[in-house]
């Protein structure tokens, strides 16, 4: 136990380092980096939506480079550019006839990696998207009769262009659900942008020489520890309230599901870890609600999309902030440390 604690503290420190590390390349996007890591620790996947050129791909690349692979090298990173004529086989791999052995050999596709960047995922046809579904959900690929397990650490960073753009297929709800978090990358503020322009060579340099601060093992360890992060009953009640409120809200056509609630809890725990904490706070709730729930719901209109969830959230935050200090009955039994 004691040993584990030391390890945990160390890895928590490493996470901070990782964030700092990535930030040397992706400037002014600390929040987004944290979200990405949250999804990673929660054993989920992340969907980033924004216009091209906001740093989505670089982010994925930097992240991959920062993680040390199992055999010394960095984590295996694959990038697939999704296009309308992409076929499932292009992702999964295919059986190729081996002349020497006189048999069909399975040639692994790009999905067999640690970190997958699925660029412009909504440009691919539904067929391809559904192929990705199994991988993301089950961590395995079934080809014919054989099922191939994926890497232990399999993390997808998908990007998508805003749905309104031409030549896009909207992602099916089931697939959206696999993405624990959906974030908007957004443009950086003026000052940061100026810095980026002044120092773009340096940034490129940083990307090349980035240090590996976290090992794959550590990430797997953290993923394991995520489940043990302490979450106060009131926060769980808060999650319950928020999820239920989305179903009642007049501006929300389709509210959040129970599975969303569970995902939400997982993300909260992961987010706490990313922030170096072993317990979940109001802040986590405040910062994660929209990232986790937004893409799972259908709103009446655009205006509602901006207001509905934040109103539900602020009501719940208000309730939580006025609560007195109470201790869970099983606080000290359930705790991580």
């Amino acid at each position: 136990m004691e040993e584990q604690n030391v390890q945990l503290e160390q890895t928590l420190g490493n996470i901070q380092k990782l964030v700092d590390n990535v930030e040397t390349v992706i400037r002014g996007k600390r929040m987004q980096i944290q979200y990405v890591l949250t999804a990673l620790l929660a054993k989920g996947h992340i969907l980033m939506e924004d216009n091209p050129g906001t740093g989505k791909t670089v982010m994925a690349k930097t992240l991959a480079k920062s993680i040390a692979g199992e055999k010394g090298g960095e984590a295996s990173f694959k990038r697939i550019q999704f296009t309308p004529d992409l076929l499932p086989m292009d992702l999964i791999g295919s059986h190729i006839f081996d002349d020497v052995k006189k048999e069909f050999v399975f040639k692994k596709g790009p999905l067999f990696c640690n970190l997958l960047l699925a660029d412009e995922i909504n440009r691919a046809s539904p067929k391809v998207q559904s192929a990705l579904l199994e991988c993301m959900a089950e961590q395995q690929i079934t080809m014919g009769e054989t099922t191939y397990p994926l890497e232990k650490l399999f993390f997808t960073i998908a990007t998508q262009n805003p749905v309104e753009m031409e030549g896009t297929y909207p992602l099916p709800a089931a697939q959206l659900d696999r993405f624990f978090i959906k974030i908007y990358f957004g443009y950086v503020d003026e000052e940061t942008e100026l810095n980026i322009y002044k120092d773009y060579l340096g940034i490129q340099n940083n990307l090349d020489t980035i240090k590996q601060v976290l090992s794959m093992k550590e990430i797997l360890f953290l993923q394991e520890q995520t489940e043990k992060v302490f979450i106060h009953d009131e926060i769980i009640t808060g999650v319950r309230n928020i999820v239920r409120d989305t179903r009642k809200h007049p501006d929300i056509v389709l509210g959040a599901s129970t599975r969303s609630g569970i995902t939400f809890l997982k993300c909260l725990k992961a987010f706490a870890l990313v922030n170096g904490r072993t317990f979940v706070t109001e802040d986590d709730l405040n910062q994660l609600t929209s990232a986790v729930l937004d893409h799972r719901m259908i709103f009446r209109n655009k205006e509602a999309k901006q207001k509905a969830l934040s109103s539900i959230l602020s009501k719940e935050l208000d309730r939580l902030s006025k609560l007195k200090i109470t201790t869970n009955a099983n606080t000290y039994n359930q705790g991580l440390l």
């Binding site: 302490f230 979450i231 106060h232 009131e234 926060i235 007049p250 904490r277 072993t278 317990f279 979940v280 706070t281 109001e282 802040d283 709730l285 405040n286 910062q287 934040s310 109103s311 959230l313 602020s314 009501k315 935050l317 208000d318 309730r319 902030s321 006025k322 609560l323 007195k324 200090i325 869970n328 606080t331 000290y332 359930q334 705790g335 991580l336 440390l337």
Partner: protein, 888 residues
């Protein structure tokens, strides 16, 4: 063309159910109320209510489509005009058209009002406020019409209006903000209506419990008086009224009407101790019941006024005074302002039909002592009391007319007139008095009366001469030697229903009963500046030479006459009613008067504590004692056993059986027993010591029972009377004080809240972190930095930037040197979150940081905010509300 809708049908239904229906109900109530006080709309409040209802419902539905108000109102006006023209064309005769147009005006007015209200409810947001104000104004006008302004009248008048106003304004806002997409519309309506009904129910229950006794009294009254409830209604007027206990008495008002009904029942018998100077010839006096000092010109009714200046009317309730105990009121004497030629006269009144609670005596009475009726006469007379009056020498029933050749009376008349001639001009005690008693309605009709009065009295110099001139005018003969004015119980009414009956009487009909003469005289005198009023009571007729001083009063002797005020002499009766020439009624023979009033030795008043019907003994707690005519009334209560085997028992209703007495009853026991005659009390004796001296059980000859209910009423009444004089200015100040205190408290509330939170935050306990955080949050919020939807981290980050608040916290580590920590609000917030949601206890340093953070932090924030800003921010109650309410 399709006309769009302003609202969906749902909103219209909501408006109809929640706004229009209550408005209609309330308006019905208001119309009913108004109809009681005004005659222009006369009587049919149901019909009027229907006009209004139609207007409001039609308009409300109509304006839910996009119609413009001005143009549609124009169309409505055209309709009105067309109908008006049509009425003109179909009505036959002047009266018909007048009647119809009045009806139509009423209809137009109410329908338009309803229409406006319907429009307002439908379209205007602020209409409900105007509407409430309008209703309040109407209610104020109505209340101002009521004679006696008492606090409960005010409450009963304004409480419903205020409650309704609040309801309407609230509901209108609710409907305005109603979500039209609301799927559970039925539930919305049901909830509101149920709420409304519940409020009504609660109000009703409160009103019922508060006024329970009044309801019961009314019920009783109706139960008793059902049979003759409508007797006085309509064309015929009666000077007497039937009381709820079956007795009769003078009415509180008398209306000038077409005919007077009279009965020939014996009302009471009186022995009046008033004789002329010779000491033998009885001098009868009119028995006064009340004064009509107000005249309602609309209904042409004389009314009592509870606020008449210098009230000299003594009105005890004899049935509420224990037997042989007396009640008097010396302010009555003071208020007569009579210093000359006045004396005290005694009268014994034996009630036959006169209500038990009524008090009658010649003016100006100031004393009342209920007595017991001698045994032999118990069947004949219900009860009796003794009255004492401050009577003017100049008063006499004979004063009125030519004394019919009786030398002595003629002389008396002359003496009197001569005395009164000394008063050259009447001046009242003050201006208010004169204004009140010389008030004339401003109206052409009354100017005619003034002119007549001036003409009649043009030769008279002094007030008394003017009065004589008026008397002579009523007694004068026309050119055919016929009396100019005749007495008639059925004078008839003028052709026009609304015409003034007094001028009709004076100038055309010249026939009438007492009220006409009294009324006409009153206004003639007042027009001459002579203060006068109408008195109501009984005419005293001396029919018997056998029993001098005894008078019999029959129901048809109920009378009204004028009283005139002379300074120094006070109010003097002045009757101008001419004798009835046509009906030579045979004078009723007077009966034999009750005599042998026994001497009472002991009268005890108190509550029954024990009752033994077998032994016929009663134990009572004596509260008041009258022994050998000496009054012992102390706070001390003493038990006494009395023997009631010989006693006659009476209640207000007459003789009752012993079984009527119950434990807890209040009784008055009277003893004539010879055994007590020689048992004289000494000066030292108190109530207690007398009772111990008495032979027990005390033989009692007479018991008067007061029931529990009546006693309660009595107590309540005395309480009410005690709190009667309402100092409105004082109440105004108190209200002002309360309101300003409330306002100050309201503005102070943010500060008080802060003090509370601050004090809590400074205290050291396990909720320290919470209290500190809450107090900090409140303080910042009050200064205008509200957290809103920011998370704790984001918020604390902003605050740190704003107030530069990494504050220094002293904390000593394990006894060694003192360590300095800088704690920002940000880190404090995080620690607080850890305490609140974390699974781990804080480390010692962290704990110290949490504990020590609060004070320096607040100090820092305070130092960064100007005092002026802080002061003004702390007056801002909105911030406080914002802090405590949930975000929408």
């Amino acid at each position: 063309m399709k006309i769009g809708r302003v609202y969906s049908w749902k909103k219209v239904v909501a408006q109809l159910l929640l706004l229009v229906v209550p408005a209609v109900v309330f308006f019905f109530y208001l119309l009913w109320d108004v109809n009681r006080f005004y005659t222009i709309l006369q009587n049919d409040w149901v019909k009027q209510g229907c006009y209004f209802t139609t207007g409001i419902v039609v308009a409300n539905v109509f304006y839910s489509w996009r119609f413009r108000f001005v143009s549609t109102a124009g169309v409505l006006f055209l309709f009105y005009y067309a109908i008006y023209k049509y009425i003109g064309s179909i009505s036959v005769g002047e009266f018909d058209s007048f009647y119809l147009s009045v009806q139509f005006i009423v209809f137009t007015f109410l329908f338009s009002l309803g229409w406006l209200a319907g429009f307002g409810f439908s379209r205007s947001r602020y209409f409900t406020i105007f509407w409430s104000v309008l209703l309040l104004v109407i209610e104020i006008v109505v209340v101002s019409k009521t004679a006696d302004v008492k606090i409960n009248v005010l409450i009963s008048a304004f409480a419903p209006v205020l409650a309704y106003s609040f309801y309407t304004i609230y509901t209108a806002e609710l409907i305005r903000n109603m979500n039209e997409e609301e799927t559970r519309f039925g539930w919305f309506i049901t909830k509101r209506i149920t709420g409304f009904l519940l409020v009504l129910l609660v109000m009703f229950l409160v009103v019922f419990t508060v006024f329970k006794n009044d309801f019961k009294a009314i019920e009783k009254e109706w139960g008793n008086a059902q049979a003759n409830y409508n007797k006085g209604d309509g064309k015929s007027e009666n000077m007497n009224q039937q009381d709820k206990d079956g007795g009769i008495s003078n009415k509180d008002q008398t209306k000038l009407s077409g005919s007077l009904s009279k009965d020939k029942q014996l009302v009471f018998v009186a022995k009046l101790d008033n004789y002329f100077d010779d000491g033998k010839t009885p001098n009868p006096l009119y028995f006064t019941s009340c004064y009509y000092t107000k005249f309602d010109t609309l209904t042409q009714t004389f009314e009592r006024d509870s606020v008449m200046p210098y009230n000299d009317l003594f009105e005890p309730d004899p049935s509420r005074i224990p037997l042989y105990f007396s009640k008097w009121d010396s302010t009555v004497i003071k208020n007569t302002f009579a210093t000359k030629n006045r004396k005290v006269v005694t009268a014994d009144i034996y009630k036959v039909l006169l209500s038990a609670n009524r008090y009658l005596a010649p003016s100006t009475a100031f004393f009342c002592q209920p007595m017991s009726v001698p045994k032999e006469y118990k069947e004949q007379y219900k009860s009796t009391y003794r009255a004492k009056m401050w009577v003017s020498d100049l008063n006499s029933a004979y004063f009125i007319y030519n004394p019919a050749g009786n030398k002595m009376l003629e002389q008396f008349q002359n003496v009197r007139f001569n005395k009164l001639r000394e008063v050259k001009k009447i001046t009242g005690p003050d201006k208010q008095f004169m204004d009140y008693y010389t008030y004339m309605p401003l109206n052409d009709e009354y100017k005619k009366i003034t002119a007549l009065a001036k003409q009649i009295t043009k030769d008279a110099a002094t007030p008394i001469d003017k009065m004589i001139a008026i008397r002579d005018y009523f007694l004068s003969k026309d050119e055919f030697k016929q009396p100019l004015f005749k007495y008639s119980d059925n004078p008839g009414i003028p052709g026009m229903p609304s015409a003034n009956k007094l001028t009709y009487f004076l100038f055309e009909n010249k026939k009438g009963y007492c009220a006409y003469y009294a009324g006409a005289t009153l206004f003639m005198l007042r027009s001459l500046g002579i203060p006068s009023r109408v008195a109501a009571g009984y005419l005293t007729v001396d029919r018997s030479s056998k029993n001098p001083g005894w008078y019999w009063f029959y129901a048809n002797q109920a009378h009204a006459w004028t009283q005139v005020y002379f300074q120094g002499y006070g109010w003097i009766d002045f009757d101008t009613t001419v004798p009835d020439m046509n009906t030579h009624q045979a004078s009723q023979p007077d009966g034999t008067p009750p005599t042998n009033m026994p001497q009472t030795y002991l009268v005890a008043d108190g509550e029954v504590t024990e009752l033994d019907t077998v032994k016929k003994q009663i134990k009572m707690m004596v509260e008041k004692l009258l022994y050998h005519d000496k009054d012992y009334d102390t706070k001390m209560v003493k038990e006494m056993t009395i023997d009631v085997s010989m006693a006659t028992i009476t209640a207000d209703t007459g003789a009752v059986k012993l079984s009527a007495i119950q434990k807890g009853n209040h009784i008055t026991a009277v003893s004539y027993a010879e055994a007590l005659k020689n048992n004289v009390a000494t000066a030292k004796d108190s109530l207690g010591s007398i009772i111990t001296k008495l032979p027990l059980p005390v033989p009692i000859d007479e018991i008067k029972v007061m029931s529990k209910e009546e006693l309660k009423k009595l107590k309540k009444k005395t309480k009410e009377q005690a709190s009667e004089p309402v100092d409105w200015i004082k109440i105004g100040w108190i209200i002002l004080l309360i309101i300003s205190a409330c306002v100050i408290l309201l503005f102070l509330s943010p500060w008080i809240t802060w003090q509370y939170l601050n004090a809590k935050a400074k205290r050291m306990n396990e909720q320290k972190a919470y209290n500190s955080y809450r107090a900090s949050l409140y303080y910042l919020n009050q200064l205008g930095y509200s957290r809103d939807s920011k998370g704790p981290q984001e918020y604390s980050y902003l605050i740190d930037a704003k107030f530069n608040t990494p504050v220094r916290v002293l904390s000593s580590d394990k006894g060694n040197d003192k360590n300095l920590h800088y704690v920002s609000f940000y880190s404090f917030s995080n620690l607080y979150q850890k305490v609140k949601y974390g699974s781990l206890p804080l480390t010692e340093t962290e704990q110290k940081m949490v504990n020590e953070f609060y004070k320096p932090f607040i100090k820092q924030v305070r130092s960064k905010t100007k005092l002026k800003t802080r002061f003004s921010k702390f007056l801002n109650i909105y911030n406080t509300i914002h802090y405590f309410t949930q975000p929408k």
